[in-house]
């Protein structure tokens, strides 16, 4: 059985209507609605058939100015040795998503990094600060609509070139 089918079946029983089935069924991901995300996260971590005990990666994605932002989570189970990708779409204006920092402790820094790059607010994160950029940096650099500022703290920022000029 394909893992995304299995996970979506289990989730459909517990949280009806939360899963948006992917249009590419061979891929190992599912798309879900963000509302009950924290409860779902707790569930998939503890459920005996899923046991996703390790949060491997949280990726922020900007699919383009028209399409909007997305957060993609890669989970892995050290006990059952399977993995799943969960995608949650968020709106571009004022994006926010429930935090899973208290479910997997490793998600703490990974969420901070996504916040740092995309400005997606993780509701309930206890320490949501910038991770890699300086605290006084303006804007969310990995968004497609990001404009590099000309000046940072009195220092000139060199122009970004497209490809090799």
């Amino acid at each position: 059985m394909i893992i995304n089918q299995k996970v979506s079946d289990i989730l459909e029983v517990k949280f009806p209507g939360v899963v948006i089935l992917p249009d590419e069924p061979h891929n190992d991901f599912i798309q879900i609605h963000p509302e009950k995300w924290k409860e779902i996260a707790k569930f998939i971590k503890t459920d005996s058939e899923l046991k996703f005990d390790s949060c491997q990666c949280i990726t922020g994605v900007d699919l383009g100015i028209e399409d909007g932002l997305e957060v993609r989570y890669n989970f892995h189970s050290m006990q059952l040795k399977h993995k799943i990708e969960i995608r949650i779409a968020v709106e571009r204006k004022n994006p926010s998503i429930p935090s899973i920092e208290q479910v997997w402790r490793g998600a703490n820094w990974l969420e901070r990094e996504v916040y740092d790059m995309y400005g997606i607010r993780f509701k309930g994160h206890r320490d949501l600060r910038r991770m890699l950029l300086p605290d006084d940096w303006k804007g969310w650099p990995l968004r497609k609509d990001y404009k590099t500022p000309n000046i940072y703290n009195g220092m000139k920022i060199p122009k970004v070139r497209k490809g090799w000029d």
Partner: protein, 373 residues
């Protein structure tokens, strides 16, 4: 008797400090020698890797992956090219597969040598560091005769490697492996079984199994905590399923499972396993073959996304690549194993002494280039 009021002192370890392994800053609260709070501050080496990737073609990203983990550049670009190949569905020639495994394992040994050596430095032992550099030097020499570079190779290409193995590489390899195997015992004598070293690292900075998994810590750090998880074994990529090797795990010989000594020991044992893999690969490698055979004319993956993990010397190195069908990736995210390892530092190092914190940090084997990207 009046009460003695003790104040906690805030201390900045780094960004300029001999044993932060790069430009890391640890903001610690100290009560005398005891550390009561640790806040790692990172980002001093941030070079906008992910932003760069969105503006470069797929091949041009490879040198950037080298520069992320500059200690194990081969492994980093290995993971990237495998991900892109999977996205494009490319089959590389047999010879290329073997060359890649040989190079990746050599680089794993080189990286572990550096990790163990600098760990020794953190504990205060200078001599083992130079012994290990002596051997690392010879691996770098092998890389140099292969591709001309000693640190950042740009060797793995999408669909192949940049150069075939040079004449004399096999002989030099066998010679090196024979001598290196003996040298490992030398390290054990001077460092691993040294009483002071054991006192300093055993039972220090214990990372229990569940904490390690919860933080997403992987690689030797996770195996040091007693979890047998190695992507080369459990989720074989490339041709790793053809080799016989063991996955060493920490057993708490000197103290308890998951202490600094265990993490050290797992790395030392992994070097032995890497030797085994290289030996088998050198024996089985097809003698003939064009390493540029499968190079695509244009690297333009179809629309889609992939999360691909490989086992780098520091742990599960994941690449999340989204392609929109153009020659430049829409998004390249690197899941850095050292990043997650460092995020666990404040959990396992709080309450230890100042000297221990630096030993624990050393045992995690972080590379700041990979953390800050």
């Amino acid at each position: 008797m009046g009460l003695v009021h003790a104040e906690e002192m805030t201390l900045n370890i780094g960004p300029q400090h001999p044993s932060t392994h790069g430009v890391l800053r640890l903001k610690v609260k100290t009560d005398g020698e005891i550390i009561s709070e640790i806040t790692p501050v990172i980002g001093y080496l941030h070079r906008c890797f992910e932003k760069h990737c969105e503006n470069l073609s797929y091949e041009q990203v490879i040198p950037f992956t080298d520069r992320c983990d500059y200690i194990a550049a081969m492994n980093n670009s290995f993971g990237y090219v495998l991900a892109v190949e999977k996205l494009m569905d490319i089959q590389v020639p047999e010879r290329v597969e073997y060359i890649r495994v040989i190079m990746a394992e050599y680089n794993r040994i080189a990286s572990h040598l550096l990790a163990l050596g600098t760990f020794g430095l953190d504990v205060g032992a200078y001599t083992p560091f130079l012994y290990m550099f002596r051997d690392r030097e010879r691996i770098l020499d092998l890389f140099e005769i292969t591709c001309g570079a000693r640190l950042l190779y740009n060797y793995m290409w999408v669909g192949g490697v940049s150069h075939d193995l040079p004449l004399g590489f096999m002989e030099a390899s066998y010679r090196f492996l024979d001598e290196f195997e003996k040298n490992i015992n030398e390290y054990h004598n001077i460092l691993s079984y040294n009483k002071i070293f054991i006192e300093r690292s055993a039972d220090v900075g214990i990372m229990p199994k569940d904490v390690a998994i919860d933080y997403g810590v992987t690689g030797p750090n996770l195996r040091g905590s007693g979890v047998k998880w190695d992507l080369r074994k459990d989720e074989p990529y490339s041709i790793y399923n053809r080799f016989k090797f063991d996955v060493p795990v920490g057993t708490g010989i000197m103290g308890s499972v998951g202490d600094c000594w265990d993490r050290y020991w797992v790395r030392a044992e992994e070097m032995q396993e890497s030797i085994k893999i290289i030996r088998q690969a050198l024996d089985k490698i097809p003698r003939e073959g064009n390493v540029h055979e499968a190079l695509p004319k244009k690297v333009r993956p179809p629309k889609g996304s992939i999360y691909f993990r490989t086992e780098s010397p520091r742990g599960d190195l994941g690449y999340y690549i989204i392609s929109d069908g153009t020659p430049t990736p829409l998004r390249v995210k690197m899941r850095s194993p050292a990043f997650t390892a460092l995020s666990a530092l404040s959990e396992i190092a709080t309450g230890w002494m100042l000297s221990d914190v630096l030993v624990i940090l050393g045992s995690l084997d972080i590379v700041l280039g990979e953390i800050d990207r």
